[in-house]
Amino acid sequence: MQFPGRRKKLIGSSQNDLYDHCLQFYGQPPLENISLTEFETFAVERLKLLKTVENLGVSCVKNSEQYTKKLDAEISKFFFNKEDGISEYEKRRKDHISHFILRLAYCQTEDLRRWFIQQEMDLFRYRFNDLHSKHKTDFLHKNNLKYETVSAEEKKSLQDKLIASSYGLSGTKVEEHDVYKVPFQDALDLVRTRKVYLLAGNAYIPHHEIVTIVLNDFRTRLSKALAMTARSLPAVQSDERLQPLLSHLSHAYVGQDYSIQKNIGKISLEQIDALSGKSFPLCMRHLHKALRENHHLRHGGRMQYGLFLKGIGLSLEQALQFWRSEFVKGKVDADKFDKAYAYSVRHMFGKEGKRTDYTPYSCMKVILSNPPSQGDYHGCPFRHSDPELLKQKLQNYKVSPSGTNQILELVKGMHYQLACQKYFELTHNVEDAGFSLNHPNQYFTESQKLLSGGRDIKKEVDMSQRSQENPASVTRPSQANSKQAHEEMGDLDSFFQDE
């Protein structure tokens, strides 16, 4: 028997029950049906949000005004719905579902899990700190974290003791900010190091420390959950509809993918040597050098470098000429090249087989997939090279010792892209790269922009008279003369402005 009236009421209340707070610990997985489109959209949008969290965490000081403003904007974008007035319920639902989808994509390897946990924690920290004091306590209670705020009188009576036990507490801080009373079992790190005031089994935790405790809890839960998800992943992956999306997500680079060739033929083969020293990121410089020295590269290297060259503007004919001329100097004769290697070059350009989807690899892809083995030159030198060798290489490339040390520090902290950014700053002699490095082709583009900085104004005047860019004939200097090289840079500059 149906009781339609009652039904509706129940659904309404269950909605409220499910998402009774704007923030959540993502304890329960969503239990509804959604369309594949929504599945994909939610996932991709959350990924964009997390990438922004990562970028901002790297380029701004956390909690600075700039950080707050930008992250706020990105979060609003995430929750924004084209229709008017996305309801609070829908916002929370999107938050909930998108988080769980990304768990599927990011549970598989240690690297992915670490990245995902880090960004989700940063996002959570930001959103939690943004809450009103009352909502904070609400959240804690709703999640069975029995943390009470201490009354003003109690705070006053314990003031001296609180200041004497907690780091960074002053009289005013105690007055102005909340102090939480937490069972000591939930604050073991602080108890162990005696960095907190204890009374009758409770730890008195100042506001700025409670976030740490909540975050630790968050991290522990998420870490366990991801491990469990990884175990049940095979079942999910067997679903054909989901497998490609999940795989794409975990390698996703959510920015410009340099797949559309705008600058075909702008670069001459003779320029590549010079460019490799000036504007190539270390990985590509390394690959180019190995190719020149050995007259050969293995498949991984050919893919990574070949697609990069496609991204900076080499045409198929140029690419074939480039690879053939190099391989022929080695053990491969022209015939063999045409038979074996030319096919794969054409494949890269989408001229063979059915897939045309070869886009130049992003940093994430280079760092995370296909690690190099003996005899390989691909990968990310900051990630895959032995630090000693990396140090030598940097010294060979005339990077200052202090700069090298800075880079090695970043490598130690696993900030490979930041290390490459530092490399950019040191080789281009700038304080700040001015961009957040995500893609080798981005490195190249930014480098070119920087090196021709002075030409910008002049080019702007020309731009107003330009219609479609047109592959101008590029001068082919016989000598790699620095003045001429500079002129070439200028010419290259014109089409880069198109972006």
């Binding site: 036990s165 079992q185 190091t193 204890l198 009758a200």
Partner: protein, 433 residues
């Protein structure tokens, strides 16, 4: 009371008597059952025995008090240790699927051993103790007892003399028994101030701000320091010992002159020191007091849920002394050398009894088992063990009272809940119409 009569060779004769007539089984069982609140709590508890000829057996467990008595009287253990409450009966642990037999709960325990203070004791070393260094135990008990009660909120602490050179603390609160390994280790580290072994000269380092816990502990140490360190231990009595004290902080930073040995006040003013450097050294006097007196506990003993610790009322085979509970109200007068030995109490048992005894004998003939217990109770009451069993009784009473209080509170809550449930059901059924 002559306790020098104890001879370890007599143990095989004394122990059976002790276990038959003096060991307080009913209080012991009452303790470890914890009011029967948790099912099988006593049955799943591990005991370990050290038998004659150093034979060691683990995973002993018993289903009833009676079984415990019978087994102990049969096996006559020289040493008894108490372990954790497991998921299954320890005596059947081999029958359980591997991985599922787990230690679930245990009291939070602390072990303070006098040998850990050898670097700062001048009167004795190793297993020896004397009245001069016993003060260290008094200080340890005062500091830890306060901290465990006031800072951590524990209520039911049983302090026990180990029988030779130290004391144990059994924290028996519900919450304490349920603590995880991480929590136990955190508590133990919170309570640790003296760090470092042979290689470390300066074992206590204080810096601003001084945590309230340290201040509390310092006020206890200060109370005893003059008598203990300056007088009894005479740490400033010889050049050698003074050097040792001063070795704790870098001498070259300080200018000092030795004062007269006549009067010392608590703040170490016999040696006046001018500090030339800003960092370190501002709390040197406190650091020295703490290094000489602050409790040194073995974190490993406290950390493990399955750690086995000597049982209260067991006998120490080397000294013959019974591991008796310590009455904190009489802490300052507690004398480890007055603690009864097994030979003493067995001797006291043999003394002729008064006339009331005959009446009791008649009652006993009626019921054997109860008789056994009654007899035992009368028996220990005639010995020096009596006052220590009383301490234990008071401890058990306090726990029983607190359990009752908890139950009343809970049933009050349940009442409230059930009223709410009824309302809900009514509301629901009304809606359905």
């Amino acid at each position: 009371m002559s306790t020098s009569d104890y001879d370890p060779a007599c143990l095989p004769d004394l122990l059976p008597l002790y276990y038959r007539r003096l060991f307080p089984f009913s209080q012991y069982y009452r303790w470890l059952s914890y009011g029967g609140v948790s099912k099988n709590y006593f049955q799943n508890r591990e005991f370990s025995f050290t038998l004659k000829d150093d034979i060691y057996v683990r995973y002993q467990s018993f289903t009833t008090q009676n079984e415990l008595e019978k087994e102990m009287q049969k096996m006559v253990p020289y040493k008894i240790d108490i372990g954790a409450v497991y998921s299954h009966r320890p005596s059947q642990h081999n029958a359980v699927k591997s991985g599922t037999f787990q230690a679930l709960e245990k009291e939070l325990v602390f072990d303070i051993d006098m040998t850990d203070y050898d670097d700062v004791r001048r009167c004795c070393s190793a297993a020896d103790i004397c009245s001069k260094c016993w003060t260290l135990m008094t200080i340890a008990i005062r500091i830890l007892d306060r901290a465990l009660r006031e800072d951590f909120g524990f209520h039911h602490l049983l302090w026990v003399y180990s029988g030779r050179r130290g004391v144990h603390c059994w924290v028996c609160d519900d919450a304490a028994r349920k603590l995880s390994v991480a929590a136990r280790s955190a508590v133990a580290e919170y309570l640790s101030l003296v760090k470092g072994g042979e290689e470390t000269v300066r074992k206590v380092v204080l810096s601003d701000p001084i945590h309230p816990f340290i201040n509390h502990s310092l006020s206890v140490v200060e109370r005893y320091f003059q008598q203990y360190a300056i007088v009894d231990q005479d740490i400033l009595g010889s050049k050698e010992s003074v050097d040792k004290v001063l070795a704790v902080f870098p001498v070259d930073r300080y200018f000092f002159k030795e004062g007269s040995s006549v009067s010392y006040d608590l703040h170490f003013s016999c040696v006046s020191v001018k500090s030339n450097s800003k960092k370190g050294g501002q709390y040197f006097d406190k650091e020295i007091m703490l290094q000489y007196c602050y409790p040194r506990l073995d974190v490993n003993v406290s950390k493990g849920v399955n750690h086995l610790l000597k049982s209260p009322f067991s006998v120490h085979p080397k000294t013959g002394r019974i591991s008796v509970p310590i009455d904190l109200k009489e802490l300052d007068t507690f004398d480890p050398f007055e603690v009864p030995t097994i030979s003493l109490i067995c001797e006291e048992l043999e003394k002729p009894r008064a006339e009331e005894a005959e009446e009791d004998d008649m009652k006993d003939k009626e019921n054997e088992q109860e008789a056994g217990e009654r007899r035992r109770i009368r028996d220990y009451k005639r010995t020096s063990l009596a006052k220590y069993v009383k301490v234990f009784d008071r401890f058990l009473e306090a726990m029983a009272r607190s359990r009752k209080g908890e139950m009343l509170k809970k049933s009050g809550e349940i009442e409230k809940d059930s009223v709410f449930h009824i309302h809900l059901i009514l509301a629901f059924t009304l809606q359905m119409d």
